[in-house]
């Protein structure tokens, strides 16, 4: 179990790190997709089946498409090879990140976590009952947020004069 999880963690982490390091924006986006797929596999291995598929569907099927579209629409030819970040900025960023990393790492490894038996996977029906029962208001709110986001995204990305630009 732990070995499988470790392998999947590597499958997830290596593309993520590579995605942040490569210069080509398209490569970066595709590596992010790979990292998301790895994460979905990790969820699957952990036993969160429904969440794994939902994650893959939303990220690989939806977010990645939007990202790639945005990359293409913002002139990949000129922008894909970005100039290296300034040394000062990189240094500042790295210091901040290493600070966060050390905090997180120390808190994880020095905390004595209770070792209990893994919780059995939640049946799908139970998840549905939770969503439609105690969390119904939250579900409706999320639906509202998604609708607002859809309309807002359309308005933001639409041409200045929608009457002339046609549907965006």
């Amino acid at each position: 179990m732990t070995l499988l999880l470790a392998i999947l963690a590597l499958v997830c982490l290596v593309p993520a790190v590579a995605a942040v390091l490569v210069r080509n924006l398209i490569h970066s986006a595709l590596l992010f997709v790979l990292a998301w797929l790895g994460l979905a596999a990790f969820y699957l291995a952990v036993g969160a089946e429904f969440i794994a598929f939902a994650h893959a569907l939303v990220y690989v099927g939806g977010v990645s498409m939007v990202v790639l579209f945005a990359v293409l629409l913002t002139r990949p030819g000129r922008e894909s090879a970005l100039p290296a970040p300034s040394a000062q900025r990189a240094l500042g960023g790295l210091v901040a990140v290493s600070l966060v990393a050390s905090m997180l790492g120390s808190s994880i490894f020095w905390t004595r976590l209770p070792s209990v038996e893994p919780t059995p996977p939640v049946p799908l029906r139970r998840l549905g009952e939770l969503l439609a029962g105690p969390y119904l208001v939250a579900l409706l709110l999320v639906g509202l947020i998604l609708t607002v986001a859809l309309i807002g995204g359309l308005l933001l990305a639409a041409p200045r004069r929608p009457s002339e630009g046609g549907d965006a």
């Binding site: 398209i26 490569h27 595709l30 997709v33 797929l37 979905a40 089946e49 429904f50 598929f53 939902a54 893959a56 569907l57 690989v60 099927g61 939806g62 990645s64 498409m65 939007v66 790639l68 579209f69 293409l72 049946p123 799908l124 046609g166 549907d167």
Partner: protein, 407 residues
Amino acid sequence: MILAAAAPASPADAWLERAPLLLRDALTGWLPDALRPWVAALLSIATILGVFGLLFAYMTLAERKILGRIQNRPGPNRTGPFGLLQPFADAIKALTKEDIVPRAADQVLHFLAPVVLVALSLIGLAVIPFGRNLVAVELEASVLYFFAAGAATELSIFMAGWASRNKYSLLAAMRALAQLISYEVPLLLSMVPVVVVAGSLSTTGIVAAQGGWAAGVWPHWHALTPWGFSAFGVFMVAALAESNRSPFDLPEAESELIAGHLTEYSGFKYALFFMAEYLGMAALSAMGVTLFLGGWQAPLAVLEFIPSYVWFGMKLLLLLLGFIWIRATFPRLRIDQLTRLSWKFLVPLALVNLVNGGLWAVTSDWTGAAGVARWVVSALLVVVPFVVLGRSLTAGYGPRTYRYASP
């Protein structure tokens, strides 16, 4: 896989019905217990690969034959009797052709794109119940798995288009993305009412929910209810678009983009793309059969003696024939027509249908006059939005008048 434990007289116990399982047990029976599930899994993978590989080979032939007949030609008839060896001749030709990679191309992505595409087209087939107890992987959320696997296919088309470093390929890549974003939505929305009514996200559960007949002749298939018929229509149109088939084959529009994302591909990689197109088509059709046409259920109670996998295959072939028929008939859409059809017609229709399916699920215990009212309301909820949305979609598109050419 669960072996059927039904009454002895039930068709599930017929010898032919259980033949695949018996064959599997015979092949794996002598193995130690630890190895048996692995070998069985490998066997089912090999079976799926073999059957769908052969299906792909003969789909290409059938497509060429039928297109030929529709265009008053005989189609391929030189290689073997009735051209039956044509797929193998094509395969040999594709394998022996030179593999050309443009110098400026992104070598890794250019190679990965067809491989990833074929792999993604295949993994969706794992959750399709091809017959009673014939499903490779039993998952609780297998429908979601199928669409998650299918969502990534356009990604490899994008990879192919972008990695070729060719402007036509890049345009194809953008078109593929626009098409995917547009048609993924109605595809998923059309499948939601099925999940609501069947009360299950697993393919086997959905097929089981469609078992049985009203009066022995009217099967409880989802496509035979008003909301299901509408959802089936939306699903198949979106499936056409998702599998890049005509009339939605904009990413490879040969009259505008040479071959779109396929422009810089040759030889075996091209063959892989070709294979992925047919596999994707077969997978989506298989999903359509599972969700709407009762999966492996027989259409009439008296026909149950025919094995379930035969029924599944017949329904699958029927849908694939429909794909070919549509390809032979309709001209390609423009990109703006494509997106308008999705956002202004299919998505609202699917949304109304969602309500319709919900009502159907809530009113499932209505019988008698109330049952008739249920059917009428459901039918009205399909017909009225169809007419209204169709009006608005085609408003201003009367029959074309030719100013100078008409007499």
